[in-house]
Symmetry: C2
Subunit: 262 residues, 2 copies
């Protein structure tokens, strides 16, 4: 299975341009699963609820239709972050779209900082989806800091965690997601954005350094902090089904839930 | 509060020598809390149950009495790993001993590899103890790979996690415990041993690199891989009571237990 990320800097507020940009970047790909950043179609640094509303759309909707077209053309699955409108509220969501259309939606459970002004916390739990027989879970950015989220996905069988992000804290996400791989024995695709956003007196510098980690924590791919780059690596997803770290230690069988209070 | 670790290489099977060695190392300390490695009084690489039995003792017992004497003399608390005998079974335990005597016992919950041949899995849960008004939790070595254990301690109020270890996997523990600090906003004292043990055709190389991490993941102290060293750093343990990573994000308040399945 060929998995990858596309690290780039979306244009703020311009969904059409961003979708064109994405289509162009994917033009020559040879991959089964590509993960794009959080809010990849809109940019991130909103300073009003009106701005959020201007780029929000239902799922399924025009963007997932467009992504379906790309997925069909390239015979691959895509994970993309976008602003979802549902029941008059906004969610910081990520979709999984394949050649046959929308496969699943995840709504960010743990909202970061001023996202709380604009978005509702996710209310769809931690679902796991199927990509050509491989189990895939989605998380968005700040979710990485809560080990329970990745653990829930892994216990539900996720072999690959797709993690669209707009990380701004210095290297936290790159460090924690590598540990999430190790402690859950899963592949982890961290698709971070790069670039800088400066709006309404606020400024965010995104840390780039997208990476793919293997179930033993090996970094299979890593981008630099600032480059726009699409990278793909071949993996054997069945490796994530074996939870052994030694012949006598299956990390899931070794858990002691009766001793935890969570 | 002054906290530290003593990284060294115990003599296999020779409790008396190891206790003398420890007493000598602590001779001139000026600290409130010092953590020593896992099985610091006996060494680690047992190849028979008889060997384990030869160094096992009850808690309280001679070793905790000896440690009490040291703690009293130096006006500090000590965390030390040792083989506990209880109800005809053996536990890979760690004790917290202060100037007034034994404060608490922790029995390793997650046994690593061939430890399973000799030890019973811990049956005392994840207790939190008091050291001069500061809440302290104990974990032993392989426990670090299970985020639920540290999380349980932190949710119970632990400000400092004391982590006696005999790490052998390449750098996993140094990486994961730093992330445990970040995700729980606690201080973490990783007291690893150094040196090599070679017995009965088996060989273990311990990775040293003991470290102390702050609640934001900053490494306050780190030992090299092979040196025998006692290091101490001054901290403000109240920092671990503030779980904010941004003004709007309290990591514990932001948890979504209803979405986790653990």
């Amino acid at each position: 299975m060929r998995i990858g990320y596309y690290q780039f800097a979306p244009e703020f507020g311009d969904v059409e341009t961003n979708l064109m940009h994405i289509a162009l970047a994917l033009e020559n790909i040879n991959a089964d699963l590509i993960v794009l950043p959080e809010l990849a179609t809109s940019g991130y640094l909103f300073i009003s609820r009106e701005e959020v509303g201007a780029v929000a759309e239902p799922i399924p909707g025009p963007t997932t239709e467009f992504l379906h077209g790309l997925a069909e053309k390239h015979h691959c699955h895509l994970v993309v972050g976008l602003v979802e409108r549902a029941d008059g509220e906004f969610f910081n969501s990520a979709v999984l779209v394949g050649p046959r259309g929308l496969v699943g939606v995840y709504r960010k459970l743990h909202l970061f900082n001023e996202e709380k002004y604009y978005f509702q916390p996710g209310n769809l739990g931690c679902p796991v989806f199927d990509v050509a027989g491989v189990k895939v879970g989605l998380l968005v950015c700040f979710d990485h800091l809560f080990p329970e989220a990745a653990r829930t996905l892994a216990l539900r069988g996720a072999q690959i965690v797709c993690h669209p992000s707009n990380l701004v804290l210095p290297k936290y996400g790159q460090l924690t997601t590598r540990v999430r791989s190790i402690e859950n024995r899963v592949f982890w695709i961290l698709a971070n954005r790069c670039g800088v956003e400066q709006r309404g007196g606020k400024k965010l510098v995104y840390t780039g350094c997208s990476q793919i980690a293997a179930p033993d924590g090996t970094i299979l791919l890593r981008a630099s902090a600032r480059e726009e780059v699409l990278s793909v690596v071949e993996i054997d997803p069945s490796q994530a089904c074996d939870k052994h770290v030694t012949p006598l230690n299956d990390l899931f069988a070794d858990r002691r839930p009766e001793a935890y209070e969570l």
